[in-house]
């Protein structure tokens, strides 16, 4: 009975001997020989030479021998495609065998042999097996379709297997359903746009029924598939949730996690006022906690997922802190993950317990774990103000242990504590300074240097300390060099008399002796600032720092939402989207959470609230970047606050200078439009993405190379946003423009576009010499004449001006499309702002299309370009609509009445010659149905959204 002997044959001439045995007449001997072959194959010997002999053994009624031969075939068929064809006959015959186990075995194995010649023969048997009377054969055939699709997708489509597979979703056997779902999901993944898995309420119902009956694995396939469904409303979402919740008590953790995924996703659609919403939240906690009593590997997967869940919905586990306490013999990977979650759950209510635990952990053996524990103590101090004092004293105790890595870690977190609570704990600086020599890690050194620079006035020998670092300047890592540079400049600005020599030394080291462009650029900025305007330098370098956020290492909200859709999978373990680690087309589609129900809901949601309610011009509190991003942090510290430094000395600027505006405005607007875009579109995901740690480092790192443009970026913070309304809006508030307030709007009169602006002087001095210039924009809009402001503008006086515009200026596509960036100059300075013009300014008078051409063009434009909108609550009949639109250069080409609905076919043309075709559906005489349906077709579909907005505004005013 022992098979291990097969592993031991190592003598020479083995292959030859095996060949003889394989061809033996005795069945037993044959079987022994095949076993030896398989054993050799397993340990990696090449036994492909025996292919014909092994295939000869295939025709047998001994199932065990057959399985062994099949196993061999799966391994070697690919390397011997011509020989593999010998096996086809037996396969085809086996697919007809009266024994269902053999039929299934044959079709299963055939699918694993990736040889084109064989797959050709596979189609017929597979078709039969998909309709086999035995469920075991059907469930095997279902998976086989996925195998075949992997080898030859076209063949599967041509042969119509996909439809047969879809039919299996209605099969009476739950396992067949589950395997069909698995196969379809996999095939659908490589066809992102097909609606292969045509999930509708009926199929969902079938899946939910099968869910109660199939194996644990089948339940996972079905739940994972359900998670991709978007219920049409909250009622449907709730009813699915109700039927999925029983799965939370399954013994299989994967079933539980997949159920959690479905619930987390569909919960998004439920209103928070619903009783059921609260019930569901309560039901989620216990199973998540139970996952922690599983085997360590599963605990790890569960913890990585809980980390996401806690970020998305902190309320679920907020009372469960204790279960995340680390056990002495947890594997290290479990310990580290638990610690992460403990920090996230720390609150005023449980901080005492958490701190006591963290203190224990800081004495453990594993270096990474201890470091993380120390860091966690600092995080607690920042998160829970009441505990700050205790945390700091704990950290000081830890520093006293003199354990090198503990000290370094403690100093790094204390730096953040200083920033969070200025002027509170600086008394500990003396203790920190004692440990200067023991710091050998860049991050700790940089943190210590920052502290010395920041509190230079309180440290008597700050200059000596920094000087000592300067000796080995070129051996330091970049982050230490940058920090040292900044710290010495700070020191100089605080104690200019004693440190002039030092600052010159560091500036020359940074600018002349360094190869690092970042360092050089920063050196030059400081140098020029200091030499031209020391007061401004002081304002910049010693500016008040923005608050640091309490939460750290948060996953960026869009990514978090995507990862929530991947709960239980590798993506949730890596905390990376699948596209980051999966090759090819699979899994590259980004999954999204369903939109929240109710518009006010999105602003109430705690994680979205800050960005949705914040003014676009407000800078979010900066977040402490995760480890290793100190560079971003530094920039933040030094240059973070919006400093009102005039970007360009105004006296030397000529208003007509286009290139200057081009460069300046581009970099100025770059970040800003991104922020605006997010806020305007109202998408919480984009809006919230602004200013989170994942975004910060890149958006801050990028401009470093650009030197001065960095300053512009920050100086430009707080652009007003133009909004789509006809009355004048304030484009440039007085506070941003040294007292000049500009408000305005756009109009189209007699075929000309005008920009009507009001200039108001809110400053104390007279303003003169006004001029205006536009940046390149999407439709080439430019002033047709100079801005006519003849009289000087006295304080508190307002001047109206109407600026004629043309559309022959330089073109550059903007985002949003109708964004216009404007520069206005007066005798004081140059000011920049941006506004949005309504697109109907661009509708030209000859936009009426011939009926025939209209029809032909409508057909000619591909259907993908058609966009549909709804205009809600519009109480107008067809004639009123036609008239109203006509006065805005939207022309009705034809009118039809279909089933009691008026259909208007309309055309309009933009200044740049783009035609937009529209179909407007109106239901006359029905007061309950006042929504208009608008379909737009255009060769440049990006304008459709704006045209729709124009429609809406025109029809509603």
């Amino acid at each position: 009975m022992t098979d291990s002997k097969y592993f031991t044959t190592t003598k020479k001439g083995e292959i030859f001997e095996l060949k003889a045995e394989l061809n033996s007449d005795k069945k037993e001997k044959k079987k022994e020989a095949v076993k030896k072959v398989i054993a050799s194959m397993t340990v990696g010997k090449d036994v492909s030479a025996l292919f014909p002999d092994v295939v000869n053994c295939m025709q047998t009624d001994n199932l065990e021998l057959k399985k062994l031969v099949y196993l061999y075939l799966m391994n070697y068929a690919k390397s011997q495609p011509d020989m593999a064809i010998m096996a086809v006959n037996t396969f085809v015959k086996d697919c007809e065998d009266p024994n269902p186990l053999i039929r299934a075995l044959a079709v299963r194995t055939m699918g694993c042999i990736r040889v084109d010649k064989i797959t050709e023969y596979l189609c017929e048997p597979l078709r039969k097996c998909l309709k086999d009377e035995d469920p075991y054969v059907r469930k095997t055939a279902a998976v086989c379709v996925a195998k075949l699709h992997d080898i030859n997708a076209q063949l599967v489509e041509d042969q119509g297997f996909l439809d047969t597979l879809k039919d299996l979703i209605s099969d009476s056997n739950p396992m067949v359903v589950a395997n069909a779902v698995a196969a379809l999901s996999e095939i659908a993944e490589s066809h992102p746009n097909s609606n292969l898995l045509d999930l509708n309420p009926q199929t969902i119902n079938k899946l939910l029924t099968a869910l109660n009956e199939c194996t644990e694995w089948g339940q996972i396939f079905i739940l994972d598939c359900l998670a991709n469904y978007s219920p049409k409303d909250d009622r449907e979402a709730q009813s699915i949730c109700e039927r999925v919740t029983p799965r939370l008590s399954h013994a299989n953790s994967a079933v539980v996690l997949s159920a959690v995924k479905v619930l987390m996703k569909f919960m998004e659609m439920l209103s928070k006022d619903l009783d059921y919403y609260g019930t569901l939240l309560k039901k989620l906690a216990p199973p998540l906690v139970t996952l922690l009593s599983a085997e360590p590997e599963l605990q790890y997967v569960a913890l990585r997922n809980i980390n996401l869940i806690v970020q998305k919905r902190p309320e679920i586990l907020k009372h469960e802190m204790k279960v995340f306490f680390v056990k002495y013999n947890d594997p290290i990977y479990v310990k580290l993950e638990k610690l992460d979650i403990m920090i996230r759950l720390a609150s005023q209510a449980n901080i005492a317990q958490v701190l006591a635990e963290l203190k224990e952990y800081a004495t453990e053996v594993d270096v990474d774990f201890v470091r993380k524990a120390v860091r966690a103590i600092g995080r607690c101090a920042i998160k829970v103000e009441q505990s700050a004092e205790r945390c700091v004293s704990t950290l000081l105790d830890l520093i006293q242990t003199k354990v090198n890595y503990v000290v370094q870690e403690a100093i790094i977190v204390i730096k953040d504590i200083f920033r969070k609570y200025p002027n509170k704990y600086e008394s500990v600086i003396a203790t920190l300074c004692e440990n200067l020599d023991s710091l050998d890690e860049p991050e700790a050194r940089a943190a210590m240097i920052w502290i010395v620079g920041e509190y230079a006035e309180r440290i008597d020998n700050a200059d000596e300390l920094l000087e000592s670092f300067l000796e080995g300047f070129h051996d330091e890592s970049t982050q230490v060099q940058l920090q040292l540079l900044t710290a010495i400049v700070k020191l100089f600005l605080k104690k200019p008399t004693e440190t002039q020599e030092l600052v010159q030394q560091v500036l020359s080291l940074a600018t002349q002796d360094s190869d690092n462009p970042d360092l050089r650029d920063r050196g030059y900025i400081y140098w020029r600032l200091l030499s031209t305007d020391p007061v401004a330098a002081k304002e910049v370098v010693l500016a008040e720092k923005p608050l640091i956020s309490e939460e750290t290492d948060l996953i960026e909200p869009t990514l978090l939402d995507e990862l929530i859709c991947h709960i239980g999978t590798l993506a949730s373990v890596y905390h990376k989207p699948p596209s980051a680690f999966v090759e090819g087309s699979r899994g590259v589609q980004h999954k999204r959470l369903p939109p929240r129900s109710g518009s006010n809901e999105s602003t109430e949601s705690p994680d979205v609230a800050p960005s949705a309610t914040a003014q676009p011009s407000e800078q979010q509190p900066a977040v402490i970047p995760s480890q290793g991003d100190l560079l971003g942090d530094l920039l933040n510290l030094d240059l973070g606050p919006p400093v009102n430094v005039p970007p360009i000395p105004s006296s030397t600027v000529q208003m007509g200078a286009m290139d200057l505006l081009g460069g300046g405005l581009d970099s100025l607007m770059g970040d800003e439009t991104e922020g605006l875009g997010g806020d305007l579109s109202g998408s919480p995901a984009i809006g919230a993405g602004y200013g989170t740690p994942a975004v910060m480092p890149t958006s801050l790192n990028a401009p470093i190379g650009g030197g001065l443009s960095e300053l512009f970026d920050l100086g430009g913070m707080g652009m007003p946003s133009g909004s789509f309304v006809a009355p004048k809006t304030i484009w440039l508030p007085a506070a941003k423009a040294k007292g000049l307030e500009i408000s305005g709007t756009f109009s189209r009169r007699m075929g000309h576009i005008y920009m009507d602006i009001s200039l108001m002087n809110k400053a104390m001095q007279v303003m003169t010499d006004f001029a205006i210039q536009f940046n390149r924009n999407s439709f080439g809009m430019a002033p047709a004449a100079p801005l006519q402001v003849n009289a000087p503008l006295a304080p508190n006086q307002t001047i109206e001006a109407s600026l004629p515009l043309n559309t022959v200026g330089p073109v550059m596509k903007m985002d949003p499309l109708t964004n216009l960036q404007v520069a206005v100059k007066n005798n004081i300075d140059v000011f920049y702002f941006s506004c949005l013009y309504p697109i109907n300014m661009l509708f030209v008078e000859d936009g009426k299309m011939d009926r025939q051409i209209f029809l032909a063009t409508w057909k000619d434009i591909p259907n993908e370009n058609e966009v549909q909108f709804q205009i809600k609550d519009c109480h107008l009949n067809a004639d009123a609509v036609t008239n109203k639109l006509q006065s805005n250069n939207i022309f009705t080409v034809a009118k039809r009445n279909v089933e009691g609905q008026d259909m208007l076919y309309q055309s309009l043309k933009l200044t740049n010659g783009i035609w937009i075709l529209a179909e407007l559906r109106i239901q006359p005489g029905n007061p309950n149905y006042t929504d208009l349906e608008l379909s737009l077709k255009c060769r440049a579909p990006e304008v459709s959204q704006h045209v729709f907005q124009a429609y809406e505004v025109i029809l509603k005013n």
Binding site: D3, I38, P100, V143, N212, T215, E295, L298, F581
Partner: protein
């Protein structure tokens, strides 16, 4: 889905390798990558999931055997691990302990199993009860047509865990309530965390397809029932327990539990785990450990530990073991204990104190003097917690089995004819007191 499955011995030699998907590329590369990066990597394994060159490896270790699943896709990670554990269970139930020898001895069987329970990387039915009906290593030629279709309908059916036509002369079932009680206590005797994780393990030897219903003193059920008769609810309410969460074997109808909180099922034949549960409230802590550690100078420690048993005096705890950690630089230890035997085990850096039996409401004590070698190691001794092992004949959570009813409508036996055995065992899980 799973692209391949490899089994290695402790040296990193491949014992079993089965590739399901082409996308994992060259078999040898994948096999070697895991060996080099995980098995041969000197340091402790930092994660059970490793990504090497865009290929993900999941591994579990059983004694010194490594099981690794390989994939290139965004698979359901929880499922892969559940599958690996299941794979271990299946192998254990076929040939006992998972060891290099057993795997080599059964490699043909393992390949056959792998072919059956994983198809194109998708786990299929992996219930040993069902598998054993047709994967036997003895061939299946003797089957009749009916038998074959019975096998396939069972493997794919709703009740994949039980076959039809089981017959016993004596219908008998054994219920074990196995609990492990976990505790973390501060040196001052404050409970930092305590929970019981329990399992109800059932051995069923029942004929036919019996319908079972299991009842326990679940607070929610009792309160629901007790609503009519206030008198009884007051009485039973005291004994009921609050279950934080429970999970069930796949035979239990979860939707019924969700709606009525009743536990009904058709059991698998033989031994299986019916449910797992967790409680955190009103736990009976069978033992209390009171430590006292005193450092006398730099080269001596004095340790005194008192243990108190806290349950009915008529019950006996067994296999009691107290483990008191000692510093690494211990040179000698003297111990005195009132009861049982105590020994210093240098290799484990601990004093191990064993007591065979101890009745409830008793107290015992050990004191030890630990001599230390002077060291210049600055790092402080971490003082690991004192841990305890024991076994008690009751359920520390307070769980009681109220009934287990058996109905088999087709066969001629009733609930009364079934012989039922119930046993409670409470064991220590991680039962630690910091010192």
């Amino acid at each position: 889905m799973i692209g391949g499955l490899f089994i290695y011995n402790h040296k990193g030699e491949v014992l079993i390798s089965r590739v399901y998907r082409d996308d994992i590329g060259n078999r040898r590369n994948a096999v070697d990558a895991f060996r080099v990066n995980v098995i041969h990597a000197r340091q402790q394994v930092r994660s059970p999931v490793t990504n090497i060159a865009r290929t993900s490896f999941f591994h579990v270790k059983r004694s010194n055997i490594w099981l690794a699943a390989v994939t290139k896709q965004n698979v359901n990670a929880a499922m892969v691990f559940e599958f690996l554990y299941k794979m271990c269970d299946v192998m254990t139930s076929y040939f006992g302990k998972i060891s290099e020898e057993n795997i080599k001895n059964n490699f043909v069987l393992i390949y056959e199993l792998l072919d059956e329970i994983l198809d194109f990387g998708y786990p299929q039915n992996s219930e040993t009860g069902a598998l054993k009906t047709f994967i036997t290593q003895q061939g299946i030629k003797s089957q009749t047509k009916e038998e074959q279709s019975q096998i396939t309908s069972q493997v794919t059916g709703q009740i994949g865990w039980r076959r039809e036509g089981i017959k016993y002369r004596r219908n008998e079932l054994f219920l074990d309530v196995l609990e492990s009680v976990n505790l973390l206590m501060s040196p001052q005797g404050q409970v930092l965390s305590a929970h019981v994780s329990g399992r109800v393990v059932m051995k069923s030897y029942l004929s036919g397809m019996p319908e079972c219903k299991f009842g326990m003193n679940d607070k929610i059920v009792i309160e629901k029932q007790g609503k009519g008769t206030t008198d009884e609810s007051a009485k039973s309410g005291k004994q009921s327990i609050a279950i934080d969460d429970c999970t069930f074997h796949q035979c239990v109808r979860l939707s019924k539990f969700e709606s009525e909180r009743s536990i009904s099922f058709i059991p698998p034949d033989g031994e299986y785990e019916l449910m797992r549960y967790r409680t955190t409230k009103d736990i009976i802590l069978p033992f209390r450990v009171i430590p006292l550690v005193r450092e006398v100078g730099r080269t001596k420690l004095e340790v005194k530990v008192v243990i108190k048993s806290n349950f009915k005096p008529s019950l006996l705890a067994q296999k009691i073991e107290v483990r008191i950690p000692t510093p690494l630089n211990t040179s000698g230890v003297q111990v005195i204990c009132m009861k049982g035997k105590a020994k210093y085990k240098a290799s484990e850096n601990a004093i191990v104190w064993k007591i065979k039996r101890m009745a409830g409401m008793k107290e015992s004590q050990i004191s030890a003097e630990i001599e230390l070698l002077p060291t210049n190691d600055k790092k402080k001794w971490a003082r690991p917690p004192i841990s305890m092992n024991f076994e008690v004949p009751f359920a520390p959570s307070g769980l009681k089995v109220r009934y287990l009813k058996v109905f088999e409508p087709k066969l001629n036996y009733s609930d009364h004819d079934v012989i039922k055995w119930v046993r409670y065992i409470g064991r220590s899980g991680i039962y630690e007191t910091r010192c």
